[in-house]
Amino acid sequence: MKTEVNFKEDQVYVAVEGSIFVEDAAILREQLINLIEKKHIKFVINLAKVDFIDSSGLGVLVGIQKRALERGGGVIIAGATGVVKELFQVSRLYKAFEMQ
């Protein structure tokens, strides 16, 4: 898994690439929590180049969403395709995020 973080105005754009399994999820979590601790609360997480995400990865996204919402921000999931998009649909997680 690779991530690229960019900042535009008050939004943080996180582009993720590869597969998100347990260990990757832990890395992603640390990265995102670090950003929240630096007072960033609005995230656009781009999953266009993610080919697989397991429940640990989804847990990270849900956890970050909860923290961001508590602080008046939120997480937008962008670019999900294929099995990742299907996973968001079948798990009804689109109810928990704004999807783009």
Binding site: F21, D54, S55, S56, G59, L93
Partner: protein, 351 residues
């Protein structure tokens, strides 16, 4: 030097410099006979660990050093003979002064100058070893709390439980109501792994048992579990839960799912993947879930699995699609696939 029955003590004289080399090893090392466990050689570290002199060490055996029953030591020796790479375990040994110590033992069955012996490396168990032992114990407890395979006139149930590390965030449970001819069960997958996830499974299992008393549709039971568990799951933790109920009077299966997105249904040599969408539990406290019912016939089988089995191919059984062959492929899957996740499930054959 006196010769023992295998001539090893003569060897020890002939090769005494090799034994001196073993004294340079920083771990405690024992060489013992396979037949009776008597000590052939105890290196300096081991003599220091146990408090024996070289002369005293000659009358010792692995049985006198162990603080477990003779049958346990025999069992450990038997297992060690089966493992080419050596058998590692935690046990208790006793020093010359009577002090009992917890030790990590690595026992290997080797050929030494033509004789079969055990080479045994011993080190005092570290905090990490003790924690590992605790985890193993917790894993055994969790396994014992799960219902075993079941067989009756209505169904055969084969269980699958494969923790990634000692304890699992994926569990299952089921209860058969003989009077009503109902089989009510669940497969659960708490996000994450290890002890935290395993602890959450206990909450879910408790809630599952609570629903046994509730006279409501399966989907409402799932909603109730979700509403109750939300307070226990914070910071993004959530769980996938699949609830099912087989009614053997009407031959119907009713199910509702939150986060376990599919199951496999096998009937008349067909394999069908049934999708069951639903939001994970623990995310929204007032979520509602879909409920579906399908009819089945005797001989149909169902495979309810957590996502640790996601890469399992139900077609792997080839032409020979039946309950046993598919259950075998699932068992093989966990034995041969690198384990990235906990994996549990229930395989149910209806009669």
């Amino acid at each position: 030097m006196k010769s023992d029955k295998n001539g090893l003590l003569d060897d020890r004289c002939d090769y005494c410099q090799r034994f001196e080399l073993l004294d340079m090893i920083t771990d405690a090392l024992l060489l013992t006979h396979v037949s009776d466990g008597t000590v052939i050689f105890m290196n300096q570290q081991a003599r220091e660990l146990y408090g024996y002199s070289t002369e005293e060490s000659k009358v010792l055996s692995i049985f006198s050093l162990s603080h477990t029953s003779q049958s346990t030591v025999v069992e450990q020796m038997k297992i060690a003979k089966q493992y080419a790479k050596g058998y590692s375990f935690i046990t208790r040994h006793v020093k010359k002064d009577g002090m009992i110590i917890k030790v990590q033992v690595n026992m290997k069955y080797i050929l030494f100058h033509g004789n079969k012996i055990f080479a045994i490396v011993i080190r005092e168990a570290t905090q990490e070893d003790k924690l590992r032992e605790e985890f193993e114990l917790a894993g055994n407890v969790q396994r014992r709390l799960l219902p075993p395979n079941m067989e009756n006139q209505y169904a055969s149930i084969r269980t699958l439980y494969h923790p990634r590390n000692y304890v699992s965030g994926d569990v299952y449970d089921f209860v058969f109501d003989e009077a009503e001819k109902l089989l009510y069960g669940t497969v659960m997958d708490v996000m994450g792994h290890g002890l935290a996830a395993a602890s959450h499974t206990n909450i879910l299992k408790y809630l599952f048992y609570q629903t046994l008393e509730k006279s409501m549709p399966v989907s409402e039971k799932l909603s109730w579990i979700n509403s109750q568990m939300t307070s226990f799951f914070s910071d993004g933790n959530f769980a996938a839960v699949f609830l099912f109920e087989f009614d053997f009077k009407s031959k119907t299966l009713t199910y509702a799912s939150g986060g376990i997105h599919r199951f496999t249904y096998v009937y008349e040599n067909n394999v069908e993947i049934i999708k069951c969408p639903g939001l994970f539990l623990g995310i929204k406290s007032k979520e509602t879930f879909e409920q579906n019912t399908i009819s089945f016939q005797a001989g149909d089988s169902f495979f309810f699995l957590t996502d640790g089995f996601d890469q399992w191919n139900p077609q792997a059984a080839g032409q020979n699609i039946n309950f046993n062959s598919m259950h075998e492929t699932l068992k093989t899957y966990t034995a041969t696939t690198p384990c990235k996740d906990d994996a549990s499930g229930l395989c149910i054959l209806t009669h």
